[in-house]
């Protein structure tokens, strides 16, 4: 609705000039345009530069690293840093922990979001605006507010250093955003489809499972991708709940390595690079979903 009103308002505000120089669409690129393009490329280079530095230095031997500038290419490909990191840290274990936690959170949070938003968007229960806000609190509340009470709760339940402490917590936190997004989506769900299903004798549960979920599947998969990466990147609460060496996630083992005084710099650089690789692979696979999906919740 805002689109229409703004589209009609915008041209009126436009400054009309007296001398209209009509430009051809296929005109050659001007010097100014080339400069702007080069600036955009330079900006992207600045952003990616730290990651490139990581690549250049992760394959240096410790002596090579000590004797050269970080901006130099390695003398020879050397895997000492990567090897030391691999031997000192149980990276495969951390990788598995991260995958296990993030996958289960993504699945559970989507299921929870669908259940909540079904009652809000389709059921249109009374006070639904307030209920959405109630669920959104999970997303708003700072994690340091949850940290100590949940620590004691999981301690009592024997769930500390257990992936389920993180899974349960982040299922609730991620589902808050999912509930918000899906509620407004289901609020506009075509009535005819639901009526047809009801005519055929489908119960509510059946309509949800066999009619609504298949229709909104694309949105649900976008949500899953996001829940996965958000959970993967979480730091504070996993840091608090996961303490045994076997329970750490990828960001946590890197933080631990960073905190150890005797850590060799090449090991740290190699470890940082290795910790980034899963994310980069994930990004390459889901690039479209991520860059498009991020806008899904932005404007209703």
């Amino acid at each position: 609705m805002t689109d229409v009103t703004q589209a009609s308002a915008a041209p009126k505000r436009r400054k009309a000039k007296d001398d209209p120089t009509s430009r051809n669409k296929a005109r050659p690129r001007t010097a100014a345009e080339w400069i702007l393009m080069v600036l955009a490329v330079l900006g992207a280079l600045v952003i990616i530069f730290p990651v490139l530095l990581l690549l250049m230095n992760a394959f240096k031997s410790p002596t090579d690293y000590a004797n050269s500038s970080p901006l130099d290419f390695p003398e020879a490909l050397d895997f000492t840093g990567i090897q030391t990191f691999w031997e000192q840290q149980n990276f495969p274990r951390a990788l598995w922990n991260s995958i296990f936690i993030s996958t289960l959170v993504a699945v559970f949070a989507v299921i929870l979001s669908v259940l909540n938003s079904f009652a809000i968007g389709i059921g249109r229960v009374k006070g639904r605006t307030w209920i959405v806000l109630l669920f959104l609190m999970a997303n708003l509340v700072p994690q340091e507010m949850l940290f100590d009470p949940l620590f004691q709760l999981y301690d009592d339940l024997g769930l500390l250093s257990n992936p389920w402490s993180v899974i349960i917590t982040f299922t609730v936190i991620q589902a808050a955003f999912g509930t918000y997004l899906l509620s407004s989506l289901l609020g506009t769900f075509p009535k005819e489809i639901l009526e047809a299903a009801a005519m055929d004798g489908a119960t509510r549960w059946r309509s949800l499972r066999s009619v609504i979920v298949p229709v909104i599947k694309p949105t649900l998969s976008v949500l899953m991708v996001f829940f996965f990466i958000w959970t993967w990147n979480e730091f504070l609460l996993p840091l608090a709940f996961l303490n045994s060496p076997d329970s750490l996630t990828v960001p946590l083992i890197l933080e631990q390595l960073n905190g150890e005084r005797q850590t060799d710099t090449t090991t740290l650089v190699a470890g940082t690079l290795i910790s980034i690789i899963p994310t980069i692979i994930f990004f390459l696979i889901f690039q479209r979903t991520l860059t498009r999906g991020i806008t899904a919740g932005a404007v209703k």
Binding site: K15, A40, L71, L115, R204, P251, S275
Partner: protein, 321 residues
């Protein structure tokens, strides 16, 4: 929960998408809230209630007795130099996470969409967009370690070596531990680096909504790039600018990992942010009641900011309609 609908028979247009069901009671939908509300109660509401209550007590934690403190924690909070300092830092965090990325994001998104996308091809512009977005998806902890390496003190640091090479003089700045200025600036640069991709992606998607004919018409009228940007682009993507500022402001109020990884709040606790302070107090402090007070104060501020933003947005929408 007791507000089960009493007028469920009156069918209003607002009930558009409801499944019509003979004999089905609308309260049946409340069953679908059971898992969600139970989990919310345990994971979100219980901690909130417990910490708010605890903020009126002194408690050493563990098996120690709680002592009622009245408003002591709260009055102490407003005289606590570290807390006030941490709140001051939040304004700098907002500059680094909200203001700079949003402004830069506007310019870069317009540049990528308007100049690069239109004149040099969509492939280049989506490639650049992806590049700007990469820091957004890296774990903040990992990004922090990366910057920690770049900013090592003395001649070990990459940035110092880089500056030495440029200036010719030996540069040995202790970025993270030396002074408040360099430490806070380092944290802010990390935040900008992480945040910049988010507004770019959102604004570029918003720009696709703008009717290209508007641009062509204004170009025919001789409007230059900046005039078009101000008259067409900005008003069109205002809703997105709003959403980006809301979400990043809330993220800024809750920021933790960059400070934890880069400075640990140092030097001399000068780069504390409230969430880091609360975390420290819960772990090392003598009084969990006081830690709970800090956490509660941050929560209250976050809720207030969220409510103000939503109100402003609703008013803006009503004005538009």
């Amino acid at each position: 929960m007791t507000t089960t609908p009493t007028r469920r028979r009156t069918v209003s247009p607002a009930d558009a998408a409801r499944i019509p069901q003979r004999g089905g009671h609308k309260w049946g939908y409340w069953l679908y809230f059971i898992p969600g509300l139970l989990l919310m109660a345990a994971i979100i509401f219980y901690p909130i209630v417990r910490n708010v209550r605890l903020s009126f007590f002194h408690w050493r934690g563990g098996r120690a007795e709680e002592q009622f403190a009245g408003l002591e924690n709260w009055t102490a909070l407003f005289q606590d130099h570290e807390f006030l300092q941490s709140f001051q830092n939040i304004f700098l965090v907002i500059v680094a996470m909200v203001i700079v990325p949003t402004l830069l994001g506007l310019v870069i998104a317009a540049l990528l969409f308007d100049v690069v996308g239109r004149r040099f091809g969509g492939k280049l512009s989506s490639f650049l967009r992806a590049t700007y977005y990469i820091p957004q998806i890296l774990p903040i902890a990992v990004a922090g370690v990366l910057f920690g390496w770049l900013l090592k003190p003395n001649s070990d640091g990459v940035v110092n070596q880089f500056l030495t090479a440029i200036t010719g003089d030996e540069v040995t700045i202790n970025w993270l531990g030396g002074s408040y200025g360099t430490a806070m600036a380092s944290v802010m640069v990390l935040m900008i680096w992480i945040q910049i991709g988010y507004p770019i992606v959102i604004f570029m998607a918003a720009l696709q909504r703008v009717d290209p004919e508007l641009y062509e018409a204004s170009e025919l009228d001789g409007a230059n790039w900046f005039e078009r940007f101000r008259a067409i682009t900005l008003p069109m993507i205002r809703p997105e600018v709003f959403v980006v500022s809301l979400t990043t402001t809330i993220a800024a109020l809750k920021v933790f990992a960059p400070v934890f990884i880069l400075t640990q709040g140092g030097p001399n606790k000068s780069t504390y942010v409230p969430s880091f302070y609360a975390y420290k107090e819960f772990i090392n402090g003598q009084d969990k009641g006081y830690a709970a007070t800090i956490a509660t104060a941050v929560t209250v501020v976050v809720f207030i900011v969220a409510v103000i933003f939503i109100r402003v947005q609703n008013r803006a929408e009503r004005k538009d309609a």
